[in-house]
């Protein structure tokens, strides 16, 4: 039993997409439904059933130090996104077949031989990681290379990353390393360096933490990811009230009318 995690350091990412390719290669993930989107070098756009690693190309207005020292050069940053393997995972809670399980590495694993494609996980993930493959019918997501971890190998994406932008290891070690790296960056004058590790939200932390510059929302990382189970109490209270009202109302109607026909 160990607590595996990814630390993805956007400040080291060169946007080569080797992680995407390695992931597809190792896991036999079919080709994405790619079409020309015109959004930087990113035609994949988001994670999904066929995209388990996704490199975001965060392009912005010219800014010295972000993409070169030419005042007319657009600012660049790249960030490889992945399933967050949440501590409290919405998909795992929602799955009605038990196809989604928590593994011995503390990751969230989708068993494709159990999944029947109900698509409830799709609307339960606060990060929009899962989708239902329209050809296959089942939902898919990052397995955290469960098979490789079983054989004591690091996940394919981390193995091929040429700049160690994707690091793999124990969650606590990586958390510490992330803080050290952020401090180091800030000491070097990169004052907008940040760590994304939503511990104080309802997902109670993730097993994929990120380092990047600027606002997390520019990377489509939600400020307050919400696990849907927090709405359970309100929903079932309302359902109980509804059941009571139905019973009382129907009894009242039938007893009060004395079975009178009109």
């Amino acid at each position: 039993m160990r607590t595996s995690a990814f630390l993805t350091d956007s400040t080291l990412c060169i946007g080569c997409k080797a992680c995407e390719v390695a992931c597809k290669e190792w896991n036999d993930v079919p080709a994405d439904f790619v079409e020309w989107k015109g959004l930087s070098y990113d035609n994949t756009q988001a994670l999904g059933a066929r995209t388990w690693r996704h490199v975001k190309f965060v392009e912005g207005l010219p800014e010295i130090g972000k993409g070169g020292n030419d005042p007319s050069a657009f600012s660049w940053s790249f960030s490889s996104d992945v399933c967050k393997h949440c501590e409290v995972a919405g998909c795992l809670e929602a799955c009605p077949t038990g196809a989604l399980v928590r593994t011995e590495f503390d990751s969230v694993y989708l068993q494709p031989d159990v999944c029947n494609g109900c698509a409830y996980c799709v609307v339960s993930c606060p990060f929009g990681v899962l989708s239902r493959d329209s050809d296959d019918g089942r939902a898919f997501k990052c397995t955290f290379c469960y098979d490789r971890q079983k054989a004591d190998l690091m996940p394919a994406c981390a193995k091929v990353c040429p700049t160690e932008s994707i690091q793999f290891g124990e969650l606590d070690d990586l958390r510490q390393r992330a803080q050290e790296r952020m401090t180091e960056l800030q000491d070097r004058g990169v004052t907008d360096a940040r760590v994304y590790d939503p511990v104080d939200t309802s997902v109670q932390g993730t097993h994929a933490i990120f380092i990047f510059r600027g606002d997390e929302r520019m990377y489509n990382l939600p400020r307050d990811p919400e696990v849907p189970t927090q709405y359970l109490k309100r929903a079932w209270t309302s359902a109980a009230i509804a059941a009571g009202a139905m019973l009382a109302g129907t009894l009242l109607a039938f007893l009060g009318s004395g079975g009178k026909k009109l």
Partner: protein, 332 residues
């Protein structure tokens, strides 16, 4: 001439050069991305304005199931209560038929929506109280068992006369339909309320009640349309229409960006149309039927029933549509 590919007749060399340039320009323009100009990334727009969460990938079966399951659940409650209060056996019989039809159609629709329909039994491996879908599957199973037992019991009675077995099956089945009908009509509200879709989860506390009222509206309405003219059904319809009127008002009064898809655009208008057809219209018609009598009153009740049934169906479609819009518009 013969080497011109057959697939591209528009590039025939007979066209003069200028015309060919126009064609090439048109083709090149079609390749322009939808969003021209500098794509925007900011804290407010997120990553190129792309949604953070996924849209539901359910197909048309799901809103139809919400409607049918809701009507069947309410019919099950009416079946049980009418039976226990000794109401007309014909009403019990017809309510049971609607409930039975619903408990056959509902699983069929749900299975047909699955990406792997042959694996529907995987749902029955587990019971997860924290997953409204898992709870719902078991509610539907219980409801199916109840309505099937009641149907079997009544069939036995009609075929071979009164017997202890027929009586037991019928009574137990009717009680089962009552007990499982209540959550069947309301849990679909929890199903969509307990998700990451903002327009849905913001209303998690009202959706089950809203959907239950919608179910009663359609269940009572269908029975009235089947020819049952009773004061009880009219009262029940009035109650449901009153609740639906309140729900519609609360949606209109809610001020939060997350509920915009419920108020604006096509999904907002669907919600509004569904709400008016389920709330104020049947409420007014049913109230008018109280102050009139005979054929006139029957006509008011019939129109109220039609309006309620249509309104209930529109409401289900509207909520799913609003969920799609809400997911598309969700930003980090």
């Amino acid at each position: 001439m013969s080497d011109v590919p057959a697939l591209r007749p528009e590039f025939s060399p007979e066209l003069d050069k200028e015309q060919r340039l126009i064609l090439i320009e048109r083709e090149a323009k079609a390749m322009l991305p939808a969003a021209t100009g500098l794509p925007e990334i900011s804290a407010a727009t997120g990553y190129y304005g792309l949604p953070v969460i996924k849209e539901p990938s359910w197909s048309w079966e799901i809103p139809l199931y919400f409607f049918i399951g809701g009507a069947a659940g309410a019919a099950g409650v009416i079946e049980g209560v009418a039976r226990l209060t000794g109401d007309s056996p014909k009403l019990v019989r017809d309510a049971r038929r609607i409930a039975m039809a619903g408990s056959v159609l509902s699983p069929a629709l749900l299975i047909s929506d699955l990406g792997r329909p042959a694996r529907f039994l995987a749902m029955l491996r587990v019971f997860k109280p924290q997953s409204p879908m898992s709870v719902g599957v078991w509610i539907l199973m219980g409801f199916g068992a109840g309505t099937s037992a009641a149907t079997l019991g009544s069939w036995l009675r009609e075929r071979s006369g009164e017997s202890a077995l027929a009586r037991f099956l019928e009574t137990a089945g009717d009680v089962g339909a009552l007990l499982f009908g209540m959550p069947l009509a309301s849990y679909t509200g929890a199903l969509i309320g307990v998700t990451v879709i903002p327009a849905w989860n913001r209303n998690a506390g009202m959706l089950p009640l809203h959907f239950a009222a919608s179910g009663v509206n359609s269940g009572a309405g269908l029975l009235e349309l089947a020819g049952h003219q009773s004061r009880a059904l009219n009262w029940l319809g009035m109650g449901a229409a009153a609740v639906e009127t309140g729900m519609g008002a609360s949606i209109e009064l809610e001020k939060h960006p997350a509920v915009d898809p419920l108020k604006h655009g096509p999904s907002g208008w669907l919600i509004r149309v569904g709400g008016v057809l389920s709330g104020p219209i049947p409420l007014a018609l049913r109230a008018m039927s109280l102050f009139t009598s005979g054929k006139r009153a029957a006509k008011f009740r019939k129109y109220a029933a039609v309006s309620s049934v249509v309104g209930s169906a529109v409401t289900r479609v509207a909520w799913i549509q609003a969920g799609h819009v809400s997911a598309r518009e969700a930003r980090p």
